[in-house]
Symmetry: C2
Subunit: 270 residues, 2 copies
């Protein structure tokens, strides 16, 4: 199995069958992967507004109508089964992690798919910019920060960032390249000095795995699609479901299709 | 009065006082102008989803919480008074045009500000690309097309486009330049052949004023922020309020601020 060239359909089938219980970084690398947030319809306007006001952590790839679980970005897929692990939240507290959510599904649930940094990681690697957690075959390190997201209705809370160590001379190229991926968090939000973001220790991420920062490298921080999980903790919606950090939904949409002028949605412009 | 350099605060004050009852093309040219759609909260999720699925005609500049009429993009402004004309719609039928909507305001109304082509017109002029309706001091011509928008909940209907005649040799430059304004409809959706869009006669626009297409020019078509008005006609929401075509809300946000990496929202990233 070549994980990079596995197609999304095959990848989702293996995940659904429980054969691939791993973070999805580096898998099906040409395709858009997505963070997942599922909320009852009564909270959906507020969360959609939250995404509109916080496009760096929450770039909308697709929002489904209430009750729908087959995304337009992956016909035939099922959002209830096609991620390897889901987190269940009640009143902002994590109440469990499960392999599918069929038993929890309700007709009033609205699913949000948010772009993911794995989209630009493939481009970084093609540009000979190292991506440490892929080299280390572990999950990307993620940190809650002291930066607050823009409030929307009932939703507020801290920005979560992912961190990649980048050699100093390659930082400009990495930033320029990522700026072409607004559907996948776009350019970083911060370079160097973790303390300025309220991060005390890079070796102790809040989500994912620690990776070494080598001599001559700067830690570079991108807005992260795990932000909605920190928002759930801070804002305590009665019920929501998310993916487990690093274990994304893999769509059928090529990253290149976004780069070719379809930057803000997976659906073709009217 | 130099209309181009009038600042947004002064411009809104004149409009509010009824001293400036004109289309806003060419006024306060450095600032983001916005189309307006106001809907009751019960329809707001569907319309926000419509915008997310149709970012070319409906690029979101700002969405306000229910009942709010002071935009973050223009502190001190009042969306109920600061446009020169509003259109009132009941069940998809235009029931009147008024100079302010204070008497109609309700606590459940949600206001949507959508980007406007006037943002890129200033850039076209700076690039020595002619903008005919500004030369003619009239409103931009707008047409309903045979292209359907992506459906979202209760909302569906045709794409509306604005048309600008561009000298053939300047068409590539015009398109490239506008591609940098995704918050303002971005690159055009069509070049030449109006009939392919279902437009029978360029001399008879559905909204705004006709302008001449000269020898050596091609008609170039951009997705237009009047689209929600055609959507209202097609989808017949019980009640909505829009701006009158060409008479925009003028924000305090510089177009340059969007070009500097804030392309999908007027609010700074978290």
């Amino acid at each position: 199995m070549n994980q990079e060239t596995l197609n999304p359909h095959e990848l989702r089938a293996r995940i659904r069958a429980g054969e691939l219980d791993l973070p999805t970084a580096g898998f099906a690398a040409d395709y858009v992967q997505a963070n997942l947030m599922i909320l009852p319809a009564e909270a959906a306007f507020d969360f959609l507004l939250f995404c509109q006001r916080n496009p760096k952590p929450c770039p909308l790839v697709e929002v489904l109508e209430a009750g729908c679980f087959e995304p337009a970005t992956a016909p035939g897929a099922d959002l209830r089964t096609d991620l390897s692990r889901y987190r269940i939240w009640h009143n902002g507290e994590l109440s469990g992690e499960v392999a599918d959510i069929k038993a929890l599904w309700r007709d009033d649930l609205v699913s949000f798919l948010l772009g993911c940094s794995f989209s630009f990681e493939a481009a970084l690697i093609k540009a000979h910019i190292p991506v440490r957690h892929i080299e280390c075959a572990c999950n990307v390190p993620m940190f809650r920060t002291n930066r607050l997201c823009n409030v929307a209705g009932r939703f507020s809370g801290p920005l979560v960032v992912s961190m990649r160590p980048i050699p100093a001379a390659l930082v400009p190229a990495a930033i320029e390249l990522c700026s072409h991926f607004p559907h996948a968090h776009g350019a970083p939000v911060h370079v160097g000095d973790p303390e300025a973001l309220g991060i005390a220790d890079l070796a102790r991420p809040d989500y994912g795995d620690a990776v070494p920062v080598l001599r001559g490298e700067l830690p570079v921080f991108w807005a992260c699609g795990v932000t909605p999980q920190a928002i759930a903790v801070a804002s305590r919606p009665a019920f929501c479901i998310t993916h487990s950090p690093g274990r994304m939904f893999v769509t059928d949409v090529l990253n290149d299709d976004y780069l070719a002028g379809r930057s803000s949605t997976a659906r073709p412009p009217a």
